[in-house]
Symmetry: C2
Subunit: 281 residues, 2 copies
Amino acid sequence: MADKLILDGKIVSNEVKMKLKDRVDKLADIGITPCLATILVGEDPSSETYVKMKGNACEKLGIISKRIHLSADITTDTLLQTISELNEDDGVHGILLQHPVPDHIDERCAFESIAIEKDVDGVTSLGYGQTAFGFGVYPSCTPAAIMQIIDYFDIQVEGKNAVVVGRSPILGKPVSALLLNRNATVTTCHSYTENLELHLSQADIVVAAVGKPNFIQGSWLKEGAVVIDAGYNKGNVGDVDYESCYKKASAITPVPGGVGPVTISMLLKHTVESAERTVKI
Amino acid sequence: MADKLILDGKIVSNEVKMKLKDRVDKLADIGITPCLATILVGEDPSSETYVKMKGNACEKLGIISKRIHLSADITTDTLLQTISELNEDDGVHGILLQHPVPDHIDERCAFESIAIEKDVDGVTSLGYGQTAFGFGVYPSCTPAAIMQIIDYFDIQVEGKNAVVVGRSPILGKPVSALLLNRNATVTTCHSYTENLELHLSQADIVVAAVGKPNFIQGSWLKEGAVVIDAGYNKGNVGDVDYESCYKKASAITPVPGGVGPVTISMLLKHTVESAERTVKI
């Protein structure tokens, strides 16, 4: 058996950022600075932290972070108006609406209103459809990060059985689509799945995106499986019971330091690409 | 064991059409006649037959069939222009571009140019994305037909293992999405799948959408599986080896007379719904 592989997201993330730095410099040479607009609605502390992290990551790379903070009591219409203005603003290359917004706001409607060419966070149904059909340019960032990790560590996908646990619009569904496009046989499992352990026992690649701390047990896995933990729960733990899964897996992402840091890099990458596309047009 | 069930598409199709007739009459009362525009490019005899069948089915139900036949040597731009005019035409409620178009034409680009509210055939990536996210109104017609058959015969989907063999944008992918939205655990198999028989042996529901005559063998199936044959190959045969699969299955669609007739009914249904929506707006 090959050595156990820890899929270190920080290494991947650093490589991505290093390459991006060059691209940002090249854009600067022609007078363009990529700009990501982030919209935060309300005062949720976790959301504030996430938005701040993303903004800081932008600035560190020379990307403008345009931070919009709206009060919790705005209407859906006000949010749509804000997004519409950002859609029209030539200086803005990417728009990120931080999830979740307060309950009285129609989040899906707001997501859908983001212009496809600025949907660098990959939240629109159009972006998802294009990704699933193989010509999308900005897949949702966590799925994109998973594929980046898989590619960096040269993990074979074609012909493999991939089991994705979870089916959210920004994670389970798009990562299933990306794995399928790379010729994996993909099974999407979820809360109604009746024999999750059977499915997992046959999986060469497991993606955990279920939002339950330490949920996936090593005893459920096939010996030598590749385990990607896309979960992030309170107490800094993923969806995978790391200790037991580590023993069974041939390769595994840690939490923290696995998928998370690469996800932010994908957001930066998409923003830079969007800025580059404004030049090519 | 329950009786073997032949999933007769003609019964389903007739019921759908009967209900639609009432809706067409109600629209007539307020001066609206649903209209489906079909675009055929070139002289492919099978395509001509398909378009004719669809047009005739429209007319039989009181839906206007606006048939546009373009010569094989038109450019993509000409096709886009035609679609654009139909998008703008308030008298047209649905647009169907018959697949395939000649090789020199960018078919995907043409599909994508169909306005979402007239995409009654469910070919756009936006329509697919909306369907996968659970709020699409016109899923691709064959997947919609499959769900209609499943519902008509009261086949349980929730929690079941569904294996879809095939991953085309208008069949394998959307039917996988629809089954997932109905809480099946869905595995999408294809030409790179390494152990198709293992997957099929665990499937409660099998959807064959692979385009290979008599491909799926009864010996591969789980006893009592529900078998949906969405294939249609030369010689009037499906993707399923009917004789051997019939013995193993608890329920099975015949070819012809299974999914096919319901598919056309779904096209009519979507066209009528599109006409109804112009009133509601």
